[in-house]
Symmetry: C2
Subunit: 655 residues, 2 copies
């Protein structure tokens, strides 16, 4: 049997080994202009070298006076002063204020000698050189005295602070045009694996695109690093050695992804052993077992797992803190949120588990974390995962509604402001686009089919569900299902009509006309996912067919070639037909037109929206309904082939 892993260590041990073997401190300091310092980490204490303000300064537009001159001033008995000059901001104050005198002064201008206060212009009346003051001032009023804000010698910003617009303003105020910041650690990212193709190049058969190096490089940039190279090596020990070797010359840290599994070669491990010392090889973590940590020529080299989600999680857990320390940043990104686990989860015992989750903002302001079960190799897991939950070795289960801490996959990731879960629809996609234009960008649109949407409404995870479910008995769309699924405190809002039918190759070469044709041996069908309204419609028709033929539904299903191939969207059905992977599928007319395919209409169905009443408070939901009701949307919608709107936004049912 092949050697699997050397000695699998726990995550905590791996962390200790990592931090014991390296001194992760800032790698250097560089000077940057304050205009380029945004987001950088301050590498020096900022001590004021000037007083702020540097002189006694008027804080208003008005007249500089001796306070004692106007002590008795009142609305009905103003004090008269003589205006002896004028000082603008930036002027050198050459004039002096004597008793009975005043000087016109602008906001920010220096107080002239002799004056000790400023009367606001609003409380004066001027006639030529005479000024009438209607309100007294006390000494120092409307004056900011020299050094009262900041005094020379005060430490104003401490080393280690991340520079934001605020700190940059403070630096400017103190006269700094340049500032010392920590240098960005140089990171080389290498991907290995014969199966990898660089994005942008044509995909050869049995190859996949390289995902990890781009996602990892982007994360390292977010952690304050500079990516000095992003290279590839095939599964060849010498070639990997050459690439790692040259990467070590110019970088502070080398990250390699793929190739660390105990599969094909375990090449990366062997290369690391040749180039230095392997400190960790194999982690008791799920997913992320194939992780390697090495010290080569004094530098950190980490071999990350090949699966994208695993690679990203291990990066976040192990590598990110080290890189951040080298960049002078706080070890923790602090980009985590508290959430409640949406369903009970039983992790595998004895291994630390990282569970990718998707976050949903509930209308009480709390956040639900939905575990993603597509596996860490799936790209949909990657695209839906907002972050992950760390589950200890000794945890038996995490209960529904138990509070968990979710580490986000990016500093900019936020729980969605609105979640639409349900049936896929091109019209709905248009609506979401319009929402984005109006500023609502964080809308999560998850296509799980109509019934999945209704479940999501019931569990409080969706604000809106798009649905097109036909009741077999009454022939009514959607309305009966609100009751049937026990939905409460919801509105059913009218959407629009969509033509649903067979999507067929151009010219219908196989001459498919009816459901019966799906039973033909030469016809390949592409199905939709379980729970989608279209799947319900397909099954309904196949059941009828079975009845007509005196067969069982199962028998009919077995006769339909491709019945088990499930596409998740109408467009995916059309694409499958367009590329000849299937002869026929069921979907909406617009999907057929999009791919220039033939279409045989079967039904006109109602696509409506279930909205949780409590979600109506959310501004994104309000905007959604407003757009739905707008004539401009109706107009745009009806340009889509097969779409028609009657009274969109109309409340069909209240529960």
């Amino acid at each position: 049997m092949r050697k699997i892993f050397h000695e699998i260590v726990s995550l905590d041990d791996a962390k200790s080994i990592l931090w014991q073997n390296f001194n992760f401190t800032p790698i250097g300091v560089e000077e940057v202009a304050i205009g380029e310092a945004h987001g950088r980490v301050l590498a020096e204490d900022i001590i004021a070298a000037i007083d702020v303000p540097p002189f006694d300064r008027s804080t208003v537009d008005g007249y500089a006076v001796k306070a004692e001159d106007v002590f008795g001033a009142y609305e009905d008995r103003p004090v008269k002063l003589k205006v002896v000059g004028k000082i603008e901001a930036g002027d050198i104050p050459r004039v002096e204020v004597g008793y009975g005198q005043c000087v016109e002064i602008a906001t920010g201008a220096p107080l002239p000698r002799g004056a000790n206060a400023v009367v606001m212009v609003e409380f004066t009346k001027r006639i030529n050189d005479e000024l009438f003051v209607f309100k007294p001032v006390s000494p120092g009023e409307n004056v900011m005295s020299a050094g009262s804000d900041i005094m020379i010698g005060e430490k104003i910003i401490t080393k280690g602070k991340v520079l934001t617009p605020r700190e940059i303003g403070v630096l400017a105020a103190l006269g700094f045009d340049k500032v010392k910041v920590y240098a960005k650690p140089k990171v080389a990212v290498i991907s290995t694996g014969n199966e990898l193709v660089k994005p942008g190049r044509p995909l050869e058969p049995f190859k996949i695109y390289d995902v990890n190096s781009y996602a990892i490089a982007s994360s390292a940039m977010e952690d304050g690093c500079e990516i000095i190279s992003l290279t590839y090596a095939p599964d060849d020990e010498q070639k990997i050695l050459d690439v790692v070797s040259s990467a070590l010359e110019k970088s502070d840290v080398v990250l390699i992804s793929g190739g660390t599994s105990a599969g094909a070669g375990d090449l990366v491990y062997r290369v690391l052993e040749k180039l230095g010392e392997v400190l960790v090889h194999g982690l008791a973590v799920k997913p992320g077992k194939p992780t390697a940590i090495a010290k080569c020529r004094g530098k950190l080299v980490v071999g990350l797992p090949g699966y994208p989600v695993s690679a990203l999680m291990i990066y976040n857990v192990l590598v990110s803190p080290a890189l951040r320390a080298m960049a002078g940043k706080a070890l923790e990104r602090r980009s985590f949120v508290k959430a409640k686990m949406a369903i009970r989860v039983s992790p595998s015992r004895g291994r630390r588990e990282f569970l990718p989750v998707s976050l949903v903002l509930k209308d009480d302001g709390s956040i639900s974390a939905y575990p993603l079960t597509g596996g860490s190799g799936a790209i949909t897991t990657l695209s839906l995962a907002d972050g992950y939950v760390e589950i200890s070795e000794d945890v038996e289960y995490v209960d529904e509604d138990e509070e968990v801490e979710v580490r986000l996959f990016g500093e900019m990731i936020k729980p969605a402001e609105m979640t639409i879960i349900g049936s896929h629809c091109i019209g709905l996609e248009k609506l979401v686009e319009k929402l984005a234009i109006r500023g609502f960008k964080e809308v999560k649109l998850i296509n799980v089919g109509s019934t999945g949407g209704l479940h999501a409404i019931k569990r409080g995870e969706a604000d809106i569900a798009g649905t097109h479910l036909l009741d077999e008995v009454t022939g009514i769309y959607n309305i009966p299902f609100v009751e049937r699924y026990g939905l409460k405190d919801v509105l059913l809002i009218e959407g629009y009509l969509r033509e649903q039918g067979f999507i067929l190759a151009k010219g219908n070469p196989k001459n498919i006309k009816s459901w019966e044709d799906l039973l033909r041996e030469d016809v390949y069908f592409i199905n939709r996912n379980k729970g989608s309204g279209t799947r319900v419609f397909v099954d309904l028709n196949l059941k009828k067919l079975a009845q007509e033929r005196g067969l069982s539904f199962d028998d009919v299903v077995k006769m339909v070639r491709g019945y088990s191939f499930e596409a998740k969207t109408h467009s995916a059905v059309a694409a499958a037909v367009a590329q000849g992977r299937a002869d026929v599928g069921v979907g909406i007319r617009s999907a057929a037109s999009m791919y220039g395919l033939d279409f045989i209409p079967l039904t006109v169905e109602k696509y409506d929206f279930v909205v949780r009443k409590s979600s109506l408070k959310k501004s994104a939901v309000k905007e959604f309904i407003e757009i739905l009701k707008s004539s401009s949307f109706k107009e745009e919608l009806e340009k889509i082939p097969g779409f028609k709107a009657l009274n969109p936004g109309n409340v069909l049912l209240e529960k």
Copy 2:
């Protein structure tokens, strides 16, 4: 009287006017490499052009089999198969699996013809070409079938999405090496005002450094813009006109700060009237009245107030959403937090008010917002302000503990993880530096003096307060004050000893020896702020002096020249003496040494720490105490002149 403002409009009206006169939509689209796409906004829908995975793929290391061959396999009666080949990831599968056969397969490798499942290597034993399988698999097990993750035609990422490491990974997976993103709006920032000096240049008399343009430029960059120029114009109509005119040629938006007050010139307003149409001039907003909005050559020009905090708030409220819309971003930064107002606030009626606040994380996880009262012209207000609270025109007061929404001044601003409020100390600054090195960067250190620190502990806003208060009666430091201030659930933790004394010019030219010398006419004193332990110590000695002389304290105070000049830190006292602005001050020895000054010791005082017990849960607080106790810190501390540590970290009192 001078013209003040044309017609002051409310903020809501100003917003309406702004959005009615401009169509703030993305200004363009550009293509960038995915490696540079981090943080950019997607300008196209991403539709999958490939299936993911593109072929049936093994998800584990193992053996590709016909599931039906191993149905009966069990631990004690393995099924024997013949190994007929091997497939690595990236290989083209040329071998076929017949009945009784299997093929060795690596994770990610394509499934060979004839196989429909993969047995994990863990459940097999191989002897040469013979494989023993100890566990059955069902068809499809450990296989990810083609298109099951993503199918051609599926919309995977919607236009408008901000690209994070996750999306960049997904783009790579789909083969995109470039991606269309919205172009960055080009912004020109202009500062006006004769009083302004560019940071980095020497500060001429009666001038101040330009703050606004840098803080505004940095904010605009954060909002997704490119700063194409950062220029300056003096208070000269023609020169301002020239600068704005040329800025309009190359930019999408022009932001001018300063010069919009009704003071000196109102020049910006006149320039904007010449170049186009002024839409708003004067806002019913506090602070921010001197705001101008104009449309010049079809472009937005905004005149921002001159005070930094006002400029930043008006930028955030009015300009930021417009720029974000032009950058294709969500209008709201969504960088706001809910907080509880720490004290009752009565805003000015009839005007919308923006209140700058400093945020403090309390140990129950809630956030307190402390209004900053230094005025929007103060740089300390800028440096302490984490954001601002918007208070409506009709609000009479915001009560203590009332929930408010705080808009942050930067996306990276977070409430502090630990707050230390109290007496300024160089030793404490060193300790905070050490904390920063250990990863705790978000420590707020506010110097308000010993008594201010104890008040902050009582109100729950400080985790730790540094204090050195001497009880006149008992001669004991700090301990009596814990009781006197009614502090509960706190620990008093031993800090260290500091030598306190007169800080004098090098060589003590004025021959100052005792407190009596402070009464001399030729001696200028620099005081400390009220509430500081040093101020208490100064006043104690002046009171003694008054008693000795049979004078009142007030009489003595009047005789001390400079008594009313208050520095907030020891270093600021030393700086004032070093620069001859004062002859003597009271402070710690280290401050004198730092500036090479003379020092006459007066007392050795105890500088200790009050820690809220509930704050002990915070990891930053734990680390603080650990550092305090460490021998390495003691060693470093005692290198500071005048510092001595006995049992730092020792609990002196528990309440």
